[in-house]
Symmetry: D2
Subunit: 364 residues, 4 copies
Amino acid sequence: MSGNTFGKLFTVTTFGESHGAALGCIIDGCPPGLELSEEDMQRDLDRRKPGTSRHTTQRREADEVRILSGVFEGKTTGTPIGLIIENTDQRSKDYSRIAAQFRPAHADYTYHHKYGARDYRGGGRSSARETAMRVAAGAVARKFLEQRLGIKVRGYLSQLGPIKTDKLDWEQVHQNPFFCPDADKVSEMEAYMDALRKEGDSIGARINVVAEGVPPGLGEPIFDRLDADLAHALMSINAVKGVEIGAGFDCIEQKGTEHRDEMTPEGFLSNNAGGVLGGISSGQPIVASIALKPTSSLRLPGKGIDVDGNPVEVITTGRHDPCVGIRATPIAEAMMAIVLMDHYLRHRGQNGDVEVTTPVLGQL
Amino acid sequence: MSGNTFGKLFTVTTFGESHGAALGCIIDGCPPGLELSEEDMQRDLDRRKPGTSRHTTQRREADEVRILSGVFEGKTTGTPIGLIIENTDQRSKDYSRIAAQFRPAHADYTYHHKYGARDYRGGGRSSARETAMRVAAGAVARKFLEQRLGIKVRGYLSQLGPIKTDKLDWEQVHQNPFFCPDADKVSEMEAYMDALRKEGDSIGARINVVAEGVPPGLGEPIFDRLDADLAHALMSINAVKGVEIGAGFDCIEQKGTEHRDEMTPEGFLSNNAGGVLGGISSGQPIVASIALKPTSSLRLPGKGIDVDGNPVEVITTGRHDPCVGIRATPIAEAMMAIVLMDHYLRHRGQNGDVEVTTPVLGQL
Amino acid sequence: MSGNTFGKLFTVTTFGESHGAALGCIIDGCPPGLELSEEDMQRDLDRRKPGTSRHTTQRREADEVRILSGVFEGKTTGTPIGLIIENTDQRSKDYSRIAAQFRPAHADYTYHHKYGARDYRGGGRSSARETAMRVAAGAVARKFLEQRLGIKVRGYLSQLGPIKTDKLDWEQVHQNPFFCPDADKVSEMEAYMDALRKEGDSIGARINVVAEGVPPGLGEPIFDRLDADLAHALMSINAVKGVEIGAGFDCIEQKGTEHRDEMTPEGFLSNNAGGVLGGISSGQPIVASIALKPTSSLRLPGKGIDVDGNPVEVITTGRHDPCVGIRATPIAEAMMAIVLMDHYLRHRGQNGDVEVTTPVLGQL
Amino acid sequence: MSGNTFGKLFTVTTFGESHGAALGCIIDGCPPGLELSEEDMQRDLDRRKPGTSRHTTQRREADEVRILSGVFEGKTTGTPIGLIIENTDQRSKDYSRIAAQFRPAHADYTYHHKYGARDYRGGGRSSARETAMRVAAGAVARKFLEQRLGIKVRGYLSQLGPIKTDKLDWEQVHQNPFFCPDADKVSEMEAYMDALRKEGDSIGARINVVAEGVPPGLGEPIFDRLDADLAHALMSINAVKGVEIGAGFDCIEQKGTEHRDEMTPEGFLSNNAGGVLGGISSGQPIVASIALKPTSSLRLPGKGIDVDGNPVEVITTGRHDPCVGIRATPIAEAMMAIVLMDHYLRHRGQNGDVEVTTPVLGQL
């Protein structure tokens, strides 16, 4: 499989650069009969794009998705679904200077070494623009998971720089521009962000994604374990530098007696496993957490080099987002949904005949 | 691809349960001309197996690997390499009790829900035994990477429970049973482990893996980014619950000006990226870190349920390893080597190095 | 991999139904630096579409392809290439009758059994319209093969119903509407077709595709042999019912001494192998031949059934093409080019030709 | 995917050369609960190996298969099934002369150009020995298909050189050494073979494979159509040079009114489609036919060249089989079974929820 296709049975193949004519993707393997419309995807796309908070009336990036195939009379046909988002916000800028530079902590240098050249306009394929299609594709998966299986996938910001959230109130998540589930932290986050914006610097973030209602049995050991595929999917998001499942790095200092999630007829007594045991879903909520690095597109000068190896000072002008990590929330939800969709189809196929009478444990 | 095959061009497919007749694997895509013998793999296998420390003369699990194909006159032919390890240490035990139980924090429950049954002897396919083949396959990759490309992949224990290592001295790593690179911490670790063993409890660990000498340009955006594939490979190891690249979760609280690795003609000024930028290797050392959960095979009783849903008290008898995480070091090295090998071939071709002087025949 | 993606390193993923909004595809894995424009693809598309012969000035299906990504400043960047063809010739017809019918020898019945429903407008995804994208993608492969490797892929009609061609003159192939390489047979074919058109019946055809200049060594035994992948690619074209390589079915009655292509320092003495030996290219021209079945879209009534199982008489109205097989010529060329491209990259790497002089940075 | 793995959900990965230590394979994706033992596979293997006819008491190649994993208490567990056949009939011969030669119509030349070297003992990986594992893996698929779905896959010789069979009596197929279904042709075939053996020459053959009881709906358009995957699987068998489905190459001269399989409430009126329509199974018997080339291992001298390009005369000594094509019958059955198994699992997964009330047509 090429690097731009994800999944085995439910596959998502994307194309598009930040300044190309359009972004698009092909979703293959969506079962027939699912009601689907542009609205299903537009909702999630709107959450992702910049300007939703401080500039709610302005739409700088239209991000309007169009369905080109695979849907007939409002339902999926089982044939591939083609999606497209035309790039409208393409300002013609003078990029000639950037063309010859490698900005520190950007993919310029590595893309150049891989391809021998690069589309330097705004980051090209390495730009976060391509994630728009992942969100669109993820919306299809989320709809199927929710409607057919009652699986709910939701994410939230659990940490912005030094500020950690203490409470998890799902209702709060969409009430503020941070996907923050803790109302008490919002103003602190706003102040922090304003300060950063003034400084011209940026900060990282931590996002949690939770999938509830996942039936036990999903995952294909030993290499396509559910947690391994989730790690792959989440680490493939721009700016992600770490992935944890359940207790994650806290496991290091946990005793075995602490860590193990004991089982009673009423349910599991804890969820340090994060919903995945032996690489297979246990029926418990699947809990993943990712670390996003701070953006490197800063107006504060940084040391870079040009294509001939000479030192240059690099400054990024234009719109400045002090914490791009926040915007990863819908993308992380989308990737988790896509992985679960793929695994559901793989399992349902390979073990559809298996009848298990052993009770499924809930959680106390 | 099925769940038991890893990789795109350099693929590893494994089989085998802890108490089956044998473990085995097929390595496909190894370029021709690489000198290879059982010794190359045995070395890494010996490092992995239990008893290397306190019982260096005893070999409870022989773990002797045999090459069945793909090597001729001491060199790989380019055809698939079949490897086998016959299971010799199969004690006939009375497993009937375990058969009907789901041990907490083991894969019993999830395997049962997936397959409707399971080979309950010692964990079956979910047991860590299968990792022996990964180490064997990884040895092939490591040899190629080192001989052909000068790439060195090495791992070490960076944290055992609460004990963190301060120094990194590669020479120390194989001088103690912990893969500990800091001589000053070894006795502390030994004492800690002895205490745990007496308690009957277990603890987690953190392993770091480093690949040096990796050329820039490896990785296939956007889904098969090098870091995404590494995360996949490492998370697929039993007991891994978290993966970080470079600064990892420390990124959350890093400012952009701190995080970015500035570039000068003499080189990069730091390596928070961990050697991967935009999903592609930058030429810097690739640094990954994983969290291993504490083993759940304890003699301290835990609450489980049986196949009918009744509560049972579960005790694991037999050999007790208080920190299985340590043993993941060679496995993590193996997985990183396999990923790099696969990506190298994707970038440069499986036979790109083959030089054939035999004339090409035209047609009369 | 899903059913709508072809290839391992050079992959083509398509979407689109005959009456959907658009057809499209994503080409992933095209190496960077190849000059590419819409014209390169339009040329091959124009050869494929109906109306090129008797109605050369009319364009009923515009089939105008647009490049949406992956090309910058006239050259491929190595990132995915998105292509789109908007469907313009969508007559709003009354399909309600057809919706409930299964036409004999059409995919209606099988699509219904697979998906539980189908887009019945004009054949939906099973229509030959989707092959337009294959031709567009194939044009990219053909350009690379020709420019970089000097490989030429060309096809021609070798038999139309009972009329076999005797001579192979490449110059003739594009001088007539049949892709016929034998000028002496053209008027016979025209007369035959006119008679069929009057009858309202149809006939099959045989197409040969030849690739010259292919270096030896392409093909991945044992399952992805070059000939096996070619057979897959060609059999996947609508209406193909048979594939032969080299002497093909003539081998059955050939003696071993006849069949074998002897070798001398000057070259091979024959090419019964068709350029593939042991599943790997030999350097000889690769010769494949396919059988196309006659179209089933006839105005002559045929027996079908409706969705409830009742007998119906089926008549197809509208444009009638007595030999759709002819139109498979550019599609067969495209598929062969795509297979060769994929195998070349597997053998030699996706970026093996990229030369980067920019210095590699070390670490301070 | 590498070249030595076949399939998407039910995958078969093989290794082994004719003179290596062993042949083996890993079957991944077999659902749990299928009763399986070595006998199931040994039966099909015994049919394949040489010496079954004239030397029924001699076993020159033992071909004893052993199950190493994936089966517990007589049933598959859903985990990978490892199979092994130790190579016992390895005569130590003097191959030094052959090492430097390229025998005409053998894979020597192409393997050399691909890998830069080759295991020249008896053909190495290009030898037909590797097909033994395909037969073993195919036996697993056939058992599942038959037991779970009532699908029967059977093959027979339909033509040996110039001798065509007229009748199809399944009972006859295993009563003679030719897999010939027409008792009246057996002595003619024996005489023909004896003559060939005296001449020292060889001849080709045609094998037909039929799958009955296949439910409609299997196949994944557009690239993984069932017929395309079958063509791939069958063309991957050594010596196959052509594949047809249904009417195959006869389609060329068939009128549309002749070719189409009309449908009535009682069933299809014909089966020119060969059981596949639009790339999806129709419920009709799937009928494929393959052409096998004559073996090139002859004692009659042929012109070859050596590694330096000098002309040499090549003679093959040792056991001589005038028609290797015959032996392809169990291999063709195995490949068809593997393809159907894979597609069943892919379909059952992606469309397991689809309920179709439209009646399934049988055949008149």
